[in-house]
């Protein structure tokens, strides 16, 4: 049982480090690009949180390259959010397993 507990403790420590890393990566991504249709035309805005509020910052005309970069960033943000959730669930699971009592 000692081996299993040891492995679980190591994994818990790893998961805590990973949690911080994903939170850091998510914080690095500053806003998402969205498209609004006003009248017959499309306008691009960067949406980001500033304090408790969501701000829409008008970006003006933007190139295909920038659009692609934002789309890629969005994809990574979604991926990191999904993985962050996975790490949180792993932490919960390991903590529960470590709390379990051995019966004689």
């Amino acid at each position: 049982m000692g081996v299993i507990k040891g492995v679980l403790k190591e994994e818990l420590e790893n998961s805590h480090d990973m949690l911080k890393s994903y939170q850091r990566e998510i914080a690095k991504i500053k806003g998402c690009l969205i498209r609004k249709k006003i009248g017959k035309r499309y306008y691009y805005y960067l949406v980001k949180r500033q304090g408790g509020k969501v701000k829409f910052i008008y970006k003006g005309p933007i190139s295909e390259q920038v659009k692609k970069a934002y789309a890629e960033q969005r994809k990574m943000l979604n991926k990191y959010k999904k993985l962050l959730l996975q790490v949180k669930n792993q932490i919960k699971f390991i903590k529960r397993a470590l709390r379990g009592k051995e019966t004689a």
Binding site: V3, V7, D17, M18, R24, K79, Q86
Partner: protein, 233 residues
Amino acid sequence: MEKKQRELCLEVLRRFNKAGILKDIILIGSWSAYFYNEYFDGTSYLDRAALKTRDIDFLVHDPTKIKHEVNLPELLSDLGFVVVYKGSRGYIKLEHPDLLLEFLVLEKGRGTDKPFPLPKLGINAVALRFLNFLSSNTIKVKIEDFYVILPHPANFALHKLIIFQRRLRQDKAVKDKNIAIEILRSLIDKGESSIIKQVFNSIPQKWQKKVIKGLQETKEQNILSILITKDRN
């Protein structure tokens, strides 16, 4: 092992192969035990002793031989791997909820606790002792359409028998000991007792004593008798 974890490990290896660096690295650590399944095909080996963490260790045995420049964090970033700096010295680990990749190099001379920079791979590595024993005798295992280099199981097992006695954590020591015994038994099953003996004879006497001491602790008389029988001629 979860299917998702195995698939991610294979994807990492595929990418390393495509980038041309798989031939420069040796897969060591408890994940080697998983890939030994093919080597031990036809024996009772089941990789059952290897209770694995998510860590995969790669040994870069000769950093000067790396020809391709590949930024590993970039290569794996779309899979969700993030760079994590460990300890006060800042060792790099590439982490994913299913796998943690760590890179090691051979420790030479007096040794240092600083990370060893691997600029061609965009990472740094941990320098550790005794790893040359793993890189001195390797096998190639075919996975899909490429080969992964692993330490020969005899070297792997004897190495584990040496290091389990240096472990500070008891649980890790037990894990190392169990996997070493499982592999040595499988080698005997496969009729490769002579290889175990040959590898044992190739190591310094000081290490040989450690191996014997480790086996005496585990009371593995069968393996012990193979190692301590005197060679004919």
